[in-house]
Amino acid sequence: MIYNEDFETLPREVLETLQLKRLQQVLQKAYHTVGFYKKSFDAAGLRPDDIKNLSDMGRIPVTTKKDLVDNYPFGLFAVPMSNIVRLHASSGTKDHAAVVGYTKRDIETWSELMTRCFVAAGLTKNDVIHNAFGYGLFTGGLGVHYGAERLGASVIPISGGNTKRQLMILQDFGPTTLCSTPSYALNLAEHGRAAGVDMRSLKLRVGIFGGEPWSDTMREQLEETFDIKALNIYGLTEVMGPGMSIECIEGRNGMHVFEDHFIVEIIHPETGEVLPPGEQGELVFTTLTKEAFPLIRYRTRDLSRFIMEPCRCGRSHIRIDRITGRSDNAFSIRGVTVYPSQIEAVLKGIKELGPRYQLIVDRVGTMDTLEIQVEVNEKILSDSGEVKVLQNIEKLIAKDMKDELGISVKTKLVEPNSLQHLEGKVERVIDRRNIWPSEQ
């Protein structure tokens, strides 16, 4: 099923003509209203009207997460605050957070795209949607919510956490659709099994999973566990939130990017050059219709590739493959993107630690875990030789990390010079989750 058939099935040339026209508008708008874009275009010797074709995209400077953080909180907004009706932010404190704003029309666009996602997933107004994405500054909860309401479905705004209650509602309210991170869904199933709930007999028929990378192996596991069809959804708070792309239930192979609202490119993570179709590289998004927070050539750091074959669902919009990694050291855990630099900043503030540390990401049962191993230094023993002093430092790290990242971590103090060295450098992140076991 297709929600907006006119736009979602536009013939390629018409779609590209529309993209170019919208791109030219957004470039003008960004250049003339956002100081950052004027500066970056000027520095590149580029004027908005130099872009005559979509193939000129590569000449436009990219925007990075750092640019967003440097302009914290509202520096990249293209409209006055009086026109902003909603603010969201990516996780992290000031030094890492990107704040995004939406006009009334932006919210409408976002809702429509999220509705398109639900329809692509085969949902109608008769469905009941259990939305376990977090409500709050994170875009997951509200993004999904607005799309569900626009569709006319019944939405259960359960948000994250309180697994016992979620299980009760899954049984009693009979939702047909589960929206959550894939690892949380498996976690729910595990708790359900322990409580004697037959997850396969629930009314769920579709799962829409995103917020963290996952694999086809997990898809099989989710489909088997819940007796559902599991679909991959991808979006970023910085660009818009959930609803930028989704797998259709007909194809279930790669996520359609709604290209009437975004231009998506794949570039080489090191050279920055635009890669030929089908090659693996970093996703770069340009928003075509956002008013409050236009984003030009945003480097997502997420790695993927285009799937070039036409999809059986009839949409003309291009598909991107599962995210297979990051071009920086960041990783995603329980729906939260964690940058090693965030962790480093916390550790640097504690004088008894460092300088070396290592992050171990693992999956225990169905939950992702993060262990921070950090070397201690002389100062840790300076006073009494008491163990509780060290335990207090472990607790302090855990608390600071919770404040900074919003997730619980395990900390482990290790001996100086004991962390694994790789060509003289400590490997920052060891991801043992083995998310893509059969691929590459």
Binding site: V376, L381, S382, S384, E386, L390, L413, V414, S418
Partner: protein, 143 residues
């Protein structure tokens, strides 16, 4: 009247202790007494040795996190109630024991208790006033 203890940070894993004891053996350092405080992940090994400076130096050279901690050594007759007599005067002064460990002297007559108090000066004061033998470092290291 304080004595020096070497504190070493160690991960709780096979081979950690062996590594320390080998380094000390190779440096010809004798351990008078020791205790190990541990959690599931790490521990602190506390040592009283015959040569504090040499032990600290050689352990540091081998990459260990080492510190010197001042503790108090009290000698009591090795008989029922020995430790209790100390504890009753300490408790009466509301002094807290952070940790303690003990050994018996070679002669077998006396036990030596190594204390870390939250207020060492007050502890020494009250112990001496009550005629306990608080050992000096030289005495302890050379047992």
């Amino acid at each position: 009247m304080k004595v020096e203890q070497i504190s070493i940070f160690m991960e709780n894993k096979p081979g950690s202790l062996e590594n320390v004891t080998r380094i000390l053996k190779d440096a010809d350092i004798n351990i008078r007494t020791l205790s190990l405080a541990d959690t599931s992940d790490f521990g602190i090994l506390r040592l009283i040795v015959n040569d504090v400076d040499a032990a600290k130096k050689v352990l540091k050279e081998n990459g260990f996190t080492v510190s010197r901690t001042t503790v108090i050594a009290v000698e009591v007759p090795d008989q029922p109630g020995g430790l209790h007599r100390i504890m009753s005067v300490i408790a009466a002064q509301n002094i807290n024991v952070d940790y303690l460990y003990a050994f018996v002297e070679k002669s077998g007559e006396n036990a030596v208790i190594i204390f870390r108090f939250n207020d060492p000066d007050a502890a020494i004061d009250v112990l001496q006033k009550n005629n306990f033998t608080v050992l000096s470092g030289e005495k302890l290291y050379s047992f």
